[in-house]
Structure formats: C-alpha cells, structure tokens
C-alpha cells in the first residue's frame, strides 16, 4: 500500500515538473519571438525573459473580470488541452516518463482541438462582438488548417503502417537528415503541405486572423484580462511546444526529449521568420489558400505514398 502510494506520488510530481518545464521552454520561445521580430524591425526589442515578466504581472493582478462559470471552464479547458497533448509526446523522456509509448495519432488529434475549442467557448460567452467575430474566424481557420495538416500526417502513417508515435519516430534517424521523413520522396510533398498548415496551427502570420489586434481588437482575446490573460499566455506556450513537437516527431525524427527540443527551436525560428515579414490574409483568402496549395501538395504526397 505504502509503496504504491509513494509510486503514485512520484509519478504525479514527475508529470507536474515535466509540464512546468515545457511551459517554461514555451515562454522562452515566445521571448525569442519578440526579440527576433524587434530585430527584424530594426529595434532593440525587449529582454528575452520578457514573457516570464508578463506572466508574473498578469497572474498578480488583483481583479479578475469573469462572466460566468462557462468562461472559467473554457479557460481551464484551453490550458488543459495542450498540457494533456504534451504528455503523449516523446518530450516526456526529459523526466523519465513513458506516456509517449501509448500515444497514437487518433488520440493526439482529438486532444489537439480541446485547447482551441475551450478558448472559443470562453470567448463566445464573453459577450463582446469582437470576440464573436474572433471565434468565427478561429473556427473556420481550424477547419482550414486541419485538413492539410492531417493529410500530411496520414501520409506518414501510410508509409510506416502505424499510428503509434513511438514507431513513427523509430522509423527515422535521429540526427541524419536523409533519414527524416521530411527529406524522403514522396513524403517531402506531405511534409511541405503540413509545414505550410503548421503556420496556421500556430496562428502565426499570414494566418493570424483570429487574434488580429489591429482589425478586431485582438478578437478572441478581447474579454480576457489579468489572470485569464496570464492563463492564455501559458496556454500559448504549451501549445507551441505541443504543435511543434508533433511536427518534429512525424517529419524530423524526434525520438527523445533533447533532440526534439532542438528541432522545435529550429522549426520555430523558421516559422517566426515568415511571421516577421508577411502580412495577414483576409479570412476568406486564408481559407482559400489553405484548402488550395497545402492541401493539394499534401494530398499528392499521400497519394504517391499509397500508390507508388
């Protein structure tokens, strides 16, 4: 009895430490984002630890303007979704967990939408018209990027003949790029399609319609202030790690924690380079673009993988 209890306690502690670490690394990525964007705009930019300061400030706010319990629930759901998703990525070897051996694509695709849906739920009870516009945009964008992203992942599944993440990463080499799915014909087509869609998944430019601060007063974030906004920053950090980690596992041979983190940083730098120089599509344009180019490329990759 005692040993069992102790084991459960150690497991819980490990999970908490792991999730804390991932959120901290995610916040560090956001710091890099702000510094990088500032340098591109020929500014000095904030210190790289600025997101940590922002989170401390927001969580120490005295007032919390809430609407009702659905608003609170949505925020918790929004933070919980990406945290649950993180558990099933091989990043968890960093503290010696092995949940990732049980993670498969179906589970992960379901968990991936929990965060955005919780966010949309909270924003839609926020009673601001800007929030309603933001929710509409976010959900239609979700429809737009999920199709090419999933087509790309399905091509990998067809190639390896497994849904398990562990087997997908075992089918690739860890450091040799020639052994990655990204650089193998015809999977490279699926990878490119999914990579374009990844920009939408992370809602970086040109696919950041849902939180456009200059058009619709930050859209879905409009009613969030103080502690709620702090939770949103943490959610953003966690989902950055989860989304980039998923892509790294499927296409860049992410096997253990440390090499996946390196690949996450590389992917993130590529994403924010595009973000820093591109504008924003109109919502209808973004939807058309996403269902045209990445979808066609990813579908071609899938078909070539299955039939050739």
């Amino acid at each position: 009895m005692g040993a069992k209890f102790l084991g459960a306690l150690v497991l819980t502690l490990k999970v908490l430490i792991y999730l804390f670490l991932m959120v901290m690394i995610g916040l560090f990525l956001m710091g890099i984002y702000r510094k990088f964007t500032a340098r591109v705009q020929y500014r000095v930019g904030p210190p790289i630890w600025q997101p940590y300061i922002d989170v401390i400030k927001l969580l120490s706010k005295k007032d919390a303007a809430t609407k009702n319990w659905v608003f609170d629930l949505g925020v918790i759901m929004g933070l919980g979704g990406p945290l649950a998703l993180l558990l099933f990525l091989p990043l968890d070897t960093i503290v010696g967990l092995n949940f990732h051996t049980k993670g498969d694509l179906i589970l992960i695709l379901y968990l991936a939408v929990v965060g955005p849906l919780g966010f949309a739920l909270a924003a839609s009870v926020g009673a601001s018209p800007w929030g309603a516009i933001g929710v509409g945009r976010a959900l239609s964008m979700m429809l737009g990027y999920e199709l090419p992203f999933i087509l790309g992942l399905l091509a990998v599944v067809a190639k390896d003949g497994t849904l398990l993440l562990q087997k997908v990463s075992a089918a690739q080499s860890m450091w040799n790029p020639a052994g990655w799915h990204y650089f193998q014909w015809p999977l490279i087509l699926a990878a490119i399609g999914a990579h374009i869609a990844l920009q939408g998944v992370m809602s970086e430019k040109p696919f950041d319609q849902a939180i456009a601060p200059h058009e619709i007063a930050s859209g879905i974030m409009v009613e969030f202030g103080g502690k709620y906004l702090g939770m949103m920053l943490l959610m953003k950090a966690a989902s950055l790690m989860a989304e980039l980690g998923l892509f790294a596992v499927f296409f860049l041979g992410g096997t253990t924690a440390w090499d996946t983190i390196v690949k996450i940083f590389a992917l993130f730098i590529i994403a924010i380079s595009f973000d820093a120089v591109l504008g924003r599509f109109r919502p209808d344009q973004a939807f058309t673009v996403l269902w045209k180019w990445p979808t066609i490329i990813a579908l071609l990759g899938l078909l070539l993988t299955v039939f050739a």
């Binding site: 300061i53 400030k57 974030m221 009613e223």
Partner: protein
Amino acid sequence: MVEWLKLVDKARSRSIWMLMYCTGCGAMELPPAMTSRFDMERFGIMPMATPRQADVILVTGYVTKKTLKRIIYAYEQMPAPKWVVSHGSCPINGGVYWDSHATVNRLDLFLPVDLYVAGCMPRAEANMKMFTELMDMIAKGEARGWEEYVKNRDYYKENQRKLFGYDLVFTDGRSAL
C-alpha cells in the same frame, strides 16, 4: 512576503501595457516612441487593444463631456493595479481649449491621475521620460491611484455626477451610455 511583493512590483514596472485613449492630437508623438528610434518595447511597454488587457490608460488630448464617459468606462474595466497618465496640456488644465463650452479642463477631478506630462504636444523624448518615471514609481510602489479611486470613490463619483447631471451607472445596473 515583502521581498515577494517587491518582485511583483518590479515585474509590474517592467511590463506596462497601455491603452491609448487618443482623444486629440497628443498621440501623434507616440508612434516615434514605439518604433525603432526610441523603441519603448525595450522596457516591456506595449500598446494593447482592449481595456481588459491594459495596465495604464493614456488620455492624450482634450477631454469633452462625451469622451469622459467613455474614458471612465474604459478605466473601470481595467483590472487593478492600473494607472492613469494625463498626457499633454489639455487634460491638465484645458490647454488651448481652456474656455471652450464643451471641454472638461481637469481630468484629475474625475479619475486618479498618477502622472502628468506637460507639453502641447509632448515630444517623443518627453514620452520616454514619462514611461521611465512611471516605471520607477511602480517599482517603488508609489503609484497608488487605483487605491485612491476606491478609497475616495464618493469624491470622484460626486464630481462625475455634478458634471453629467446623473450617475454613470443607474441603480438597476444599466449603463448611461
């Protein structure tokens, strides 16, 4: 506990998100302070889109009876701790509009102003001075306007009632806007 509060005050001072209530021309000199010449993001200062996300409201220009209602609503939506900056001559003493029938000459009768920036309009250098001053005040815990507003609520509400002729929020919770 005291050390922890000092850390929190330090974090608040290095991460000021501002709501620019651009009632007049005063905001003209804020873009230079924001962009590469002065770059206020060095200090973690950013413009924000809504009152809910903001820490400081900049009232940059003349205040009329009509805009003052919106300013008060925006201020009351902001989560505490929050600060008010009276930016330019107009919200301080009326500026060039001091004898107009429509303007309100003194903002600090209606909201607890933490910092005044004189000038018509204040240049980008003055804006940066204002921000560094505000950062110092917040880090030392001196900028307490949001507590004054709660403590002296009767005073501010009485002034607002005298100006508008009615309460901004009716007894049944409806707003007067």
